[in-house]
């Protein structure tokens, strides 16, 4: 993926990414959030801010004591 925030393109398909809902699960819980997705190949772009930010927060929140 070519991380240009204004017009991000899929490096493989060379088409612009479009907003799409992505689902992920952790410890038996399902969550969704909006990410950028390639309309051709279906790959999604997970920015670092999501991976190390909100997704990590979710993991910490539901981790057992």
């Amino acid at each position: 993926m070519d991380e240009n925030k204004s017009r991000m393109k899929c490096a493989r398909c060379n088409v612009e990414l479009v907003p799409a809902k992505a689902h992920f699960s952790y410890l038996g819980h399902m969550f969704h959030t909006e990410v950028q997705r390639c309309p051709e190949c279906g790959q999604v772009f997970i920015p670092e801010s999501l991976a190390s930010g909100r997704m990590t927060e979710v993991e910490t929140s539901i981790e057992d004591k």
């Binding site: 952790y26 410890l27 038996g28 819980h29 399902m30 969550f31 969704h32 959030t33 909100r54 997704m55 927060e57 979710v58 993991e59 910490t60 929140s61 539901i62 981790e63 057992d64 004591k65």
Partner: protein, 441 residues
């Protein structure tokens, strides 16, 4: 037919000598049976088979080498090299004085001991506080009888305590709002509030006076200054076991001011009115069955799981989020160790962060409403942003810690204890149930 469930070690409740013990299933219940050569046979109920005890144990290893077992000599010597757990919380008695005289009290402090000064307490705290890590429980006696408690809180914060918890009967927190404000400003993280029921007959029986409205006022005052409150009922058969569902519903209704309920089945240590028979004990499995039954669908048994920090027989926990309609969204569920996601942190560290995260309120939400359930439509708990917002503000725990006394103490459990008491005589940390162990008179 009798069946041996576990071989372990205990103490003679008369002389305190370390003796062998067995957990034996007979007539549908599990009993600890032990024999002291000098004082005879003892038997105490430990499980009532509402749930399978073997499954509850999980993969915890039984004691294999009793020669390495120094428990409970740690009463004088502190944690030994064979102790299996780190310190999760340190209980620190800041006074022996109390403004109540409850029927049951693990501390049963001597009222005539003079309080140490703040500076003397600072020196003691310095010896065990690990900056950025320690969760200190200010206890007593009743800590709020001290006018200088806010200074003690500030002192603990300045020394680097990660969380400062106050164990309190709530009387002063209700009657002295400015005192609550000063505690909040000093950096108090949360309050463990003795809360035994939703009717005053219970308080008359257990504490000798009407206290329900006082507790409610104290919750209100803590909410005003953003101090999270966890309700702590002592569960006494025949006194408040029928009120457990009411306590839970009140706690949920009072979220986010109330962060959870922490049940403590009655333990016969400290101030012991009598040597109990089995009908006067509430076992962990019985407590779960009561919670599930009286909560009328609010809580399911599978959402209350054995402690993963201390020994499984020492407690359970359930992690929830209070939803807008007043229902509980469960986060805790049974899973195998292979699914554990917690990296290399010790169980005590994980536990400390878990309780700190849940019991402390999120800054800036002091005025969040607590009584608007029925009108609001619930949000989407699978939406990451909604979930994170909701869990931070309305996280809710149902936990229990089953302390041990001279009748039922199990050294397999004691060696896994993570709740340690600072012993002022030796200057060492001692497992809670060893520190307060009280032999028959």
């Amino acid at each position: 037919m009798d069946k041996i469930i576990r071989e372990t070690y205990s103490v003679c409740p008369v002389c305190g000598a370390q003796i062998m013990a067995q957990l034996i299933c007979t007539d549908g219940c599990v009993y600890m049976q032990k024999r002291c050569a000098e004082h005879g046979d003892f038997s105490t109920i430990v499980w009532k088979n509402n749930y399978d005890l073997i499954s509850w144990y999980g993969n915890v290893e039984p004691i294999s080498d009793w020669k390495c077992l120094y428990c409970p000599r740690c009463m004088e010597a502190g944690l030994c090299t064979n102790h299996l757990n780190d310190t999760c919380c340190v209980l620190f008695e800041v006074t022996s004085r109390c403004n109540l005289r409850c029927k049951f009290c693990f501390a049963d402090n001597h009222q005539d001991i003079e309080d140490l000064s703040v500076n003397e307490l600072r020196i003691r705290m310095y010896s065990f506080v690990k900056p950025g890590r320690t969760l200190i429980q200010l206890s007593g006696g009743e800590p709020t009888v001290r006018d200088d408690l806010p200074e003690i809180v500030k002192c603990a914060v300045d020394l680097g305590c990660r969380y400062v918890q106050l164990n309190s009967n709530a009387i002063r927190l209700a009657e002295d709002e400015d005192y609550v404000r000063r505690l909040a400003e000093a950096g108090l993280s949360f309050v463990f509030m003795q809360f035994d029921g939703m009717n005053d007959d219970i308080y008359i029986k257990l504490c000798g006076r009407l206290l329900l409205n006082i507790k409610k006022k104290a919750i209100e005052n803590c909410a005003k200054y953003g101090i999270g409150v966890t309700l702590v009922p002592t569960v006494v058969p025949g006194v408040n076991t029928e009120d457990i569902g009411n306590i839970l519903r009140f706690a949920v209704y009072s979220s986010p001011a109330v962060r959870g309920v922490h049940f403590q089945p009655v333990t016969y240590m400290g101030r012991i009115p009598f040597v109990p028979d089995d009908s006067l004990r509430c076992t962990l499995d019985e407590l779960i069955a009561i919670i599930v039954s009286q909560s009328c669908g609010l809580v399911m048994a599978e959402n209350l799981q054995p402690s993963r920090c201390d020994h499984p027989l020492c407690g359970f926990h359930g992690d929830f989020v209070v939803q807008k309609d007043g229902k509980l969204f469960p986060l805790t569920q049974k899973r195998g160790d292979a699914e554990c996601c917690c990296g290399s942190e010790s169980p005590a560290v994980r536990n400390r962060e878990f309780v700190g995260r849940r019991w402390k309120r999120v800054a800036g939400h002091e005025a969040a409403s607590c009584c608007c359930y029925q009108a609001e439509k619930d949000g989407d708990m699978t939406d990451i942003d909604y979930f994170l917002d909701r869990v931070k503000k309305f996280g809710f725990t149902i936990t229990s810690m089953a302390f041990q006394d001279a009748e039922n103490i199990d050294l397999e459990r004691l060696r896994m204890c993570s709740l340690h008491v600072y012993d002022f005589k030796s200057g060492k940390l001692v497992p809670f149930c060893a520190h307060y162990l009280t032999l028959r008179k």
